[in-house]
Each structure stands twice: as structure tokens, then as C-alpha cells.
Symmetry: C2
Subunit: 226 residues, 2 copies
């Protein structure tokens, strides 16, 4: 972990992000007062389940995995955050305690905002409150999506659903690059890495080709039917 300076490209990521985009520049600046920047290597732990934290986190680059701990070192991923996403804002309203752990899933640069300041701003400025509300709704929907997919779909179906969520609607054939290691994808989908691998090979017969991180889809319809 190393402390850094906020660059102008960092600011560009901030103001384009879902959360900050809707806020005027002056408000963004107010939120940024007292923010700290740090760089982390893969597997660096940002916080642990049960910790008291007074920050809200924002990913400037890299990847962060949010997970709960189970017996015997088991871990269950709750979410994965990439560039431009904010997390651990829950803690700010739940007694500053986090109910999950977070670690960098690859080398990452993380911005830490002062959660007390943000909460004060939210109390004073309805626009900030509104932004937080919409952010929470979005996060809630993501978690519900995961839960519903876990309960309704088999492994290949979940993978198909993930692939389709990356498909520009309208195209019948397309390809894209996985934004992270298969390992991480497996965790996000609630699968063991082996199960993800097998799911991919099941989907091969529906026109999905996997080479490294590149995914290629021949027939979108076939996937949707799966």
C-alpha cells in the first residue's frame, strides 16, 4: 500500500462515474476534501468483516472483490467492483461497521472518501442524498439479481446470462474480452472455478468459443434459449 496524488485522469474517472456524474463540480470538490488515494497489490485486504471504517471507497483502477466469510476460510462473493464504482457506503449508515470483507483482486488504485463528511453533505444537500439513494437502489438491484440467478439458474445458464449482459442488443453474433480472471468471474457467479470451466465447455455446443479472456458468441438466440 502506497499513498499517491490525485491525477487529472483520476478526476476524469470520478466525474464520469455513475455516482458523481449527476452532481455539480462544486459538490464533487466538497466531497473530495480530505480524500486519500492509495495503491494496492493483488490480495491486499482493504477491510475485514466487522471492522469499523469511516471511509467510502471508490475504485480508480483495478478490481475489488467484496465477500463474506464462512466457516473454515470459505468465502462468498457479494460483488465485484471495477473502475468508477463506489462501495462500502452501507457502513456509513449502519454504525460504521462493514458486514463484509474487501480485497484487491488485481493491482488497484483506490480513493477513500471521508464518510462523515459525505453524510453531512447528504443531510444538507438533497441532491447528494438523491445520488446516494439512487446508488443504493442500483446496488440493491444488483444483489437481488445475483440472488435470483443463484436460485433460478444452473451454472451454464448463469454464465450465459453473464455473457448476454455484455451483448450489445441487436447483434446476433459478437465477442468481448472478460474484464477479469476466470477465477474472479467464478466467484461472482457463485461457482467453483472448475464449475465455470465446465459451464463454458457446455456452452461451446451453443456457439460460445473461449480463448484466454476472449469470449466469442456465434448465435445470440441459442444462448437466450439455454
Amino acid at each position: 500500500m502506497k499513498t499517491l496524488q490525485l491525477t487529472s485522469s483520476d478526476r476524469a474517472i470520478l466525474v464520469r462515474s455513475r455516482f458523481f456524474a449527476r452532481l455539480p463540480h462544486s459538490t464533487v470538490e466538497a466531497i473530495l476534501v480530505g480524500a486519500t488515494l492509495s495503491s494496492h497489490e493483488e490480495h491486499d485486504v482493504l477491510f475485514r468483516q466487522g471492522d469499523r471504517i469511516d471511509d467510502v471507497f471508490f475504485v480508480l483502477s483495478g478490481l475489488v472483490r467484496l465477500y463474506r466469510l464462512g466457516k473454515e476460510g470459505r468465502e462468498a462473493d457479494i460483488a465485484v467492483f471495477t473502475k468508477g464504482e463506489m462501495f462500502a457506503e452501507n457502513a456509513m449508515f449502519l454504525g460504521h461497521r462493514v458486514t463484509a470483507s474487501a480485497e484487491a483482486a488485481e493491482a488497484s488504485i483506490i480513493l477513500r472518501l471521508d464518510s462523515r463528511k459525505l453524510r453531512q453533505l447528504a443531510a444538507a444537500d438533497p441532491e447528494v442524498a438523491q445520488a446516494i439513494i439512487e446508488h443504493l437502489c442500483h446496488r440493491g438491484k444488483m444483489t437481488e439479481d445475483l440472488l435470483a440467478e443463484d436460485r433460478l439458474l444452473t451454472a451454464p445458464q448463469r454464465v450465459a446470462s453473464y455473457i448476454l449482459s455484455h451483448c450489445p442488443n441487436g447483434s446476433t453474433s459478437f465477442s468481448f474480452r472478460l474484464p477479469f480472471q476466470k477465477n474472479v468471474l467464478a466467484g461472482k457467479l457463485g461457482l467453483a472455478p472448475e464449475a465455470l470451466s465446465r459451464a463454458f465447455s457446455t456452452l461451446r455446443q451453443s456457439g460460445v468459443t473461449v480463448k484466454g479472456r476472449m469470449i466469442e458468441i456465434r448465435d445470440r438466440q441459442a444462448l437466450e434459449r439455454f
Copy 2:
């Protein structure tokens, strides 16, 4: 479905509820303007996944199941709401579309609030915004809990966890009455009814006795170890 009048005991439930309790009476009254009350029988559908709705729902009595639909009529419960709980507040900030269906899981009395009005109030009154934020954080945590339990625990462990969440901390032996049918509990825990039944019988050897809706626990520690 039948339209009703808001009674004084209904008001009592409202002002004691997690969401309304923190707000001054005048604000509560403002939110209640234009609210409508309705009574539903078991299996009445309140809304369907994808519907456009302009209400926020509040359970005055009974039980509501929130669920997503899968292929071939499968359903996955996202949450179960009892007296004093509010739901579908998400839709208000996500284009007034609901991403899940809701139905009464037993005869219920439901209050419908005007979501446009509530959103306006939130924009004008930071106290209301704050209440909504905390409500969303709480809901988000509940959903995360479910997701984590699904991924980390076996059926008997999930049931044990559910039972323990009803245990007054400190006591070693206790008993309580299930707040709803086993059917509903199974859905909430993401299990088939048969699996719940088998889980209970597995837990018998850890000192759990089930008779009808009554659950009796002989040794709390034994459950925690499970």
C-alpha cells in the same frame, strides 16, 4: 381486494415501524396524504415483475412475498415482509418499474403510498431522504445476508442460522413460534419444502424440536457449532 379506512391501530403500526418511527408526526401525515388501503387474500398478486407502479407498499397486517420469476413458472423469493415493513421503494428511483413480483402469502392489509409524493418529500426534506437511505441500507444488508447464506451454508445450517436469529442472546434454551407457514420459510431460505423438513429432522439431533409452528431449542451452543 377491498378498499378500507385507515384505523387508529393502523396508525399505531405505522408510527412504530422502522421507517416512520424516526420521522415527526407532521411528516408522517404529509406522506400519508393520498394513501390507499386495501385488503387481500392469500395468493392475491400485488404487482408483477416488469409492471409500472407509482406506489410504495406498506404491510399493516399479514405477509407479503417478493419474488422473481424464472423459466417454467419457477419462483425465487427475494424477501418476505411482515407487519410494519415497507417495500417496492426501489421502483420509485428506477423508472417506476418493479423487478420482482409480489403476492400476499396470507390474508393481508396493505397500505399504498403515493411514490411521487414521497420522492418529492425526500427531495425537499433531508430527514425523509435520510430515512429512505437507512431503509435501503437495511434492505441491502438483508439481501446480502440471504446471498451469503445461500452460498456458504447447507440447508440445515441455514435453518439453524434462522432459528438463532430469533434467539434472545444470552439464553441457552428457548422456544418461539414461526411467524409463517413452513412453506414460506422454505421459500425465504431458498429451499424446497421437503428440504426444509429434512433440515429440521437433521437438527433434531442437535436439540431442536418442531411441533406445528412451535420451535423449541434445548442447547443454543449445539446449534451455533452446526
